[in-house]
Symmetry: C2
């Protein structure tokens, strides 16, 4: 047996991936469980990542003409019921408000009182309540398109929850648009998918596959659901963002009617699209290692931590002055439309200090001691390198090149994740091999066991559901950029027009 390397996170990814995930979240101080079932507390280090995600996406949305607004948290039950498939999809996981005050009970405790005439559902998504507004805002084709987004909390009462990945309450954005023509609505659906893919790859350094969901995996009420899917380090898929073409379904149920240029009464064509705090879960599982979180610089809570080192009290003032001056200088540099964020950690706790920041995933650690200052240099560690690989850099050179160093880390993380995804994606044409690939324990070539299987599918819901039942494997995506290579369905052998992505998923 090979010698076990000591890691900052126990267990390691290979020992117990789900538990490793929980330990990374804890050690990095991103978030924690709350006393409210399935809800999380997003701590400052985690919320800063969400703020960066929000700010970048918000700017990207606005550049396409989208405006922000805010709609009620509560949805009357009768609204939700207007679209049959939609309510069916969410009925099992709704938090329902039934009372509007508390009253002393006979035993002295408080009990719900003031029963509402109609129960209110805490929004699981807002198509129906926003559709109601749209129906009032639209009269003529001149009022279209309407391009709206809201940043909000939503609630889906999940029975099995995991921080960031699946929580009863989560934060997200939901875009809702209405158009005069089908073509324009379809174009908006695609545009937002492209935007999400660009964001995931460029900012989260998370390679994604763009495609469509099968009818069985669609958003309840949608005609088409497009998605970006990413591969986590346990080779499972994570749906990282979705963009839905809703046809006229919600326009019909909400009464979004307009008079066309030809003076006809027509239903509008609508779309909706969203990403959530789940992205942070994806981020963690894409880049982190057995020493903790690894944050891509472009969305990191902070870019660099300065670690002043002083042994004698008389050194402290000098080292701190040098450190604070450096912090000020770095803080003036703009890196992708926000200033470089610098942390100074002057706690006198020895080696634990550096490890704290490794576990928190900060891209750069800079040690500053009297000897470094004498040489006008800094001792720099990169989070994407081993924790011992630290190099001495001239102070001015560091300030001048920090932009490039951060870019290098960003690129490096993306390249690694892309290589991992490619190395674990295989074309499979034989049913036996397919089952073998997805059966735990059946490992002859472990380096490509599990992952994404590119196989043919005939389009039958039966084949899809049998595979799901047998292997817990689903069709993640009908990829949009793949060539239309004809072949035989991996399950039934019937002719099929292109390969789809099969995988286990979060």
């Amino acid at each position: 047996m090979s010698k076990k390397i000591k890691t900052a996170i126990v267990p390691t990814r290979s020992d117990d991936y789900p538990e490793w995930y929980q330990q990374v979240v804890k050690a990095s101080d991103l978030a924690e469980k709350s006393p409210v079932r399935g809800c999380m507390v997003i701590k400052p280090w985690g919320y800063a990542v969400w703020e960066n995600i929000r700010n970048i996406l918000d700017e990207m949305f606005k550049a396409t003409g989208v405006k922000n607004a805010y709609f009620p948290l509560f949805i009357p039950l009768s609204f939700l019921e207007k679209e049959a498939e939609h309510v069916e999809g969410f009925a099992k996981e709704c938090a329902v408000v039934t009372h509007h005050r508390l009253e002393k009970s006979g035993q002295g405790g408080l009990i719900p009182a003031g029963e509402l005439n109609e129960p209110l559902v805490v929004r699981p998504t807002s198509e129906t309540i926003i559709g109601d507004s749209f129906s009032k805002w639209v009269t003529s084709y001149r009022d279209l398109p309407i391009l709206i987004n809201q940043w909000a909390n939503v609630v889906r009462w999940e029975m099995r929850t995991r921080i960031f990945l699946r929580t009863s309450e989560f934060l997200w954005q939901e875009g809702h648009t209405a158009h005069a023509t089908e073509e324009e609505a379809r174009e908006r659906t695609r545009l937002m998918l492209e935007l999400y893919a660009e964001f995931a790859e460029k900012y989260l350094a998370m390679p994604v596959i763009k495609g469509c969901k099968t009818p069985a995996e669609r958003f309840p009420g949608a005609i088409d659901t497009m998605c970006i899917e990413a591969m986590m380090q346990d080779k499972k898929a994570l749906q990282a963002g979705t963009s839905h073409f809703l046809g006229q379904n919600f326009a019909r149920s909400s009464g979004i009617v307009f008079q066309s240029a030809r003076e006809q009464e027509e239903f509008a064509w609508t779309t909706s699209w969203g990403v959530s705090t789940r992205l942070i879960g994806g981020l963690i599982m894409t880049h982190s290692d057995d020493d903790g979180l690894v944050l891509p610089p472009k969305i990191a809570s902070a870019h660099v931590v300065l670690l002043p080192i002083f042994r004698k009290p008389e050194e402290k003032a000098m080292v701190m002055e040098f450190t604070e001056n450096l912090a000020k200088e770095l803080g003036r540099i703009v890196y992708y439309s926000r200033r470089i964020e610098v942390e100074i950690d002057d706690r006198e706790i020895g080696g634990a200090r550096g490890w704290d920041w490794i576990k928190k995933g900060i891209p750069l650690r800079v040690e500053i001691g009297p000897r470094d200052i004498a040489q006008n240099s800094l001792f720099v560690g990169r989070r994407d390198c081993g924790h011992r690989e630290k190099i001495s850099i001239n102070r001015e050179e560091f300030v001048q090149t920090i932009h490039n160093i951060l870019d290098e880390i960003q690129t490096n993380l993306f390249d690694r994740a892309l290589a991992f995804q490619k190395n674990n994606t295989v074309e499979i044409d034989a049913k036996k091999e397919f089952y073998h690939f997805f059966t735990p324990g059946n490992v002859d070539r472990p380096e490509i066991h599990g992952g994404f299987a590119l196989s043919h599918w005939c389009g039958s819901e039966n084949c899809e559901s049998q595979i799901k039942e047998d292997l817990s494997v689903t069709i993640r995506s009908i990829p949009q950029d793949a060539e239309k290579e004809r072949g035989k369905c991996i399950f039934c052998g019937s002719p099929a027009g292109q390969r789809v992505v099969f995988a286990k998923a979060y």
Copy 2:
């Protein structure tokens, strides 16, 4: 009778102030009522104001060391019950979640199912749920202070609602801090009040009075509630922001205990402070006029609208090109840490177009026609001036001085509001005069009837509640910057140490 001037808003302020308010909200397209009782839809023009408020305050908070985080929407009933005064204060207006799914009823409709073991209250404020987290985060005095803020939605089930001023759901920020000493917590309480006052005056152009609430008007569970109060144009007071010193009350109920430097177990000292979308209501009622909304430039949804004018089709291309170039140039100018936001309105709807933007309160309207272009000039209207007072300005001069013009508008709005507040604030020392001042109809000097009365109060809750009962007038504030002038209580004549602010209020 004087000739009635035609106004864009009907009724005018003097005809029917509450209805004028509703009509301004509607005409400006800031927000609208939703089908959910007491909840509002904040439309893009209104949400942009909130985004500006949020961005500016967020930066101010962070400069004092505050970090953002996010806590659960739901509060277990048992948490709320921990602080007796607190739950008493909110019990009458709580939205209560009792079920977690929907099920088909015998009649075919959906009904709440899956009853929760413990009801969950939709947060009316988060002291108790955040206190629970703090109790886990704090062990030693070294962990203090904790300085946290969250931007969130909250729900208080109000029976009588009015858009922005009092809604069942509203958006706000709530800051929560924990400290090792009473002095430090009191200092933070004052600091945040100063910050709110600076924000209100500098950005909202809304003059405020800083002070403390009387015990009867305190936040449920607080030791001290500090507040900023502003005067609306109907001379009523609006509480625009509050900062609470909570003593050890919530630390005791949530168990926020730390080991002090002297190795003693001690309860922390906590504060909380917040402002909400109510500020937008205050903004409307401070500056708007009988032609609609007036937005202070520093928080306006957009700064300037360009109105291209062309009569002949052949003029259109030329005018639009000139307009778009101007928009680009203006859009590069930074005004108080955001770029100048420019709208172009090329709808061919005649005079209604200019009026739309007057009603929306945009600070500057710029008309651009072929004759203006020939003279390289622009025809500029300021929202703080009469709608006919438009002046011709050279194009380059406008671009170079727009910063100053916006500053002038901002200052002008503040000065007007301050003059109004001062003109309607009077020192009253006789009970009869006091009652006369606050009794509608008893108008001998209408120009100073109603408003803020600076009168002495002995400190007795009885005098305070009698005045409230008789006149619907409350003590808005024990002002902090006023001199300690001795006198006699306006109600009972007992000795009193300083004047307080009496007013009717929202």
